[in-house]
């Protein structure tokens, strides 16, 4: 007679680790830790990258960001939250990406490619609004876009964002405010 044995899925050690412990484990070169770090933060980094460089290049930015960590080129030192640290790396990677000629022109087109709504009037409106907003974001200067995305969409404080961008707190607020005004103007002009 066969015996039924109940199997309990063992939770991998990395999944139970806090963000900081995971980042330290990555610094020690633990491949499982880098996988877990990626699983935990890829969505946030990808969303951030998409807003900075557009959907087409976001994948490259995400890949290069986490590769820097995997290769030990960037090691977490505990002075900021892990998410902030990753966004800082992504910011630098995106800046390098952007340097290639024509990137900015392509960005506009890339941001326009918001998937069409599947059904429903409200969803269609929301999609149209998102497309407008993304076009407006793409039209901003790099400085304004970075500050706006970090503070308004990623929820970072001006001080944290300032550390990433190499700017003072006041400068960051100024950029965010200017960016918001430009986005509103763009979207409202589009609607008219």
């Amino acid at each position: 007679m066969s015996k039924v044995v109940k199997l309990h899925a063992r939770q991998p050690r990395e999944e139970a680790m806090g963000d900081e412990a995971l980042a330290h484990a990555c610094a020690a070169g633990d491949p499982a830790a880098i996988g877990a770090l990626f699983d935990r933060f890829q969505e946030r980094v990808a969303r951030y990258a998409e807003r900075l460089v557009g959907r087409t290049d976001a994948e490259d930015v995400v890949q290069l960001t986490f590769l820097e960590v995997a290769r030990g080129q960037a090691t977490y030192d505990g002075r900021a939250r892990v998410s902030t640290w990753l966004l800082a790396i992504a910011t630098n990677v995106a800046r390098h990406q952007r340097r290639s000629a024509g990137r900015r022109r392509r960005l506009g087109a890339a941001l326009e490619s918001v998937p069409p709504p599947t059904s429903g009037h409200t969803q269609m409106e929301a999609r149209a609004q998102l497309a407008d907003a993304k076009r407006a974001l793409a039209a901003l200067s790099v400085k304004l876009r970075e500050a706006f995305v970090l503070c308004e969409l990623e929820g970072l404080g001006a001080r944290e964002a300032g550390r990433i961008l190499g700017a003072s707190e006041a400068a960051v607020w100024k950029r965010v405010s200017k960016a918001r005004a430009q986005i509103r103007a763009w979207v409202e002009t589009d609607r008219r």
């Binding site: 020690a28 070169g29 969303r47 994948e59 960037a74 977490y76 308004e152 929820g155 404080g157």
Partner: protein, 379 residues
């Protein structure tokens, strides 16, 4: 939708009475809401591909991802340029008589270089040493022998640890080496990998006798940038918080370093030219090992595990030592990092200033300068 947690009570109270601020907040939240998007940016396939590549990179493997078409032309151009440079280098190498292998013995290392017409063999009797060997000509050889074991080289940079008169561990920073035990090949170690005898003692090179049998290769997690030995591998950090490991270490279990790679310039007294017709011998002995490497690795372990206080204490003890030598800039830098973690900004600032005054060309000088600038700009 509000990001960044609940609004402070005082702000809420103010908003009740201030129409202007209420309008501003409404404006901010409306603009934010335009960006609400549930569509995932990365598809499952892209996610899995990146995940695989990350783990391969962490293991030190190289799995190049196909580049978009726009890169192909550039890569082809770079390849042609590289090939041209390589041809020039090969031609120059054929003309140049050739540099001997460079050996950087660690404190306590006892070795002997034996050169003959076929190349060179280094007999490492005790301790650890790092070898930097240029491309070995076809038919020639360069080998490191530890008792009956041997590491054969074609041109590489690697570190060998002798344990109890046998080969204890090998870590390769560049190139490929083959490990032989009792005359039989047991492993081929590539760049970024390390090998150690499974029963070798981890505490320190040659600290106990061992009777090894078999072997184990561990990916060396892309061999982190060491203190000063492999300075060329340093890379720019994403912001002033980004750092890299200061110590190239072999590890018994993948977590505990055995001994850090010694600094460049810890000069060997036994430098010999290979390729002589008559067999010659030269030996190099250094003083008994002070526990400098062990202390450095303890401090580093405290740093990477987030024990800022422990790291600060350990690095401060190290900084007070008179025998730091080439390790001094590393110790000052990491001491400053520990102090920064503990919020001791003015001490860290002074520390970084001293570091830059004493060692303006230090590997991490630009990072230290950036931190110093940051500390000065936001006191």
């Amino acid at each position: 939708m509000r990001r960044g947690g609940p609004r402070p009570l005082a702000v809420g109270v103010h908003l009740v009475s201030c129409a202007q601020c209420r309008a501003r907040v409404a404006d901010t939240e409306e603009v934010r809401s335009w960006f609400d998007d549930d569509e995932p940016v990365l598809g499952t396939e892209a996610r899995e591909a990146i995940r695989f590549q990350l783990q391969a990179a962490a293991r030190g493997a190289r799995t190049p991802r196909p580049r978009p078409a726009k890169w192909r032309g550039r890569i082809a151009f770079a390849a042609v340029a590289l090939a041209a440079v390589a041809m020039v280098v090969v031609a120059a190498a054929a003309w140049w008589p050739g540099e001997p292998a460079r050996i950087e013995p660690e404190p306590g290392a006892d070795f002997e270089r034996i050169a003959d017409g076929h190349g060179e063999v280094v007999e490492l009797r005790r301790g650890a040493a790092t070898f930097d060997v240029d491309e070995v000509a076809p038919g020639a050889r360069f080998a490191v022998r530890v008792g009956p074991d041997e590491v054969r080289v074609r041109g590489t940079r690697f570190r060998v640890v002798a344990t109890g008169g046998r080969l204890g561990a090998v870590a390769v920073a560049e190139g490929v080496v083959e490990v032989f035990r009792d005359g039989a090949k047991v492993a081929t170690i590539r760049r970024g990998e390390r090998w150690r005898a499974p029963d070798a003692v981890a505490a320190a090179p040659d600290s106990a006798s061992a009777a090894p049998s078999g072997s184990r290769i561990a990916p060396a997690s892309a061999l982190p940038a060491p203190s000063s030995a492999l300075a060329s591998s340093a890379s720019a950090s994403p912001m002033d918080s980004a750092t890299a490991s200061p110590s190239e270490a072999l590890s018994a279990s993948g977590s505990r370093p055995v001994a850090a790679m010694g600094p460049v310039g810890a000069a060997s007294t036994g430098r010999e030219r290979a390729g002589r017709s008559a067999q010659t011998r030269a030996s190099g002995r250094t003083a008994e090992p002070p526990p400098l490497d062990a202390a450095f690795d303890r401090a580093w372990q405290a740093h990477v595990t987030g024990d800022a206080e422990g790291a600060r204490r350990a690095f401060a003890e190290l900084a007070a030592r008179p025998d730091l030598g080439a390790r001094r800039p590393d110790v000052l830098f990491w001491l400053a990092q520990s102090e920064l973690r503990l919020g001791e900004r003015s001490t860290a600032r002074r520390r970084l200033t001293v570091l830059l005054e004493e060692h303006p060309t230090y590997l991490r000088a630009s990072e230290a300068r950036a931190q110093l600038r940051h500390l000065e700009e936001s006191p």
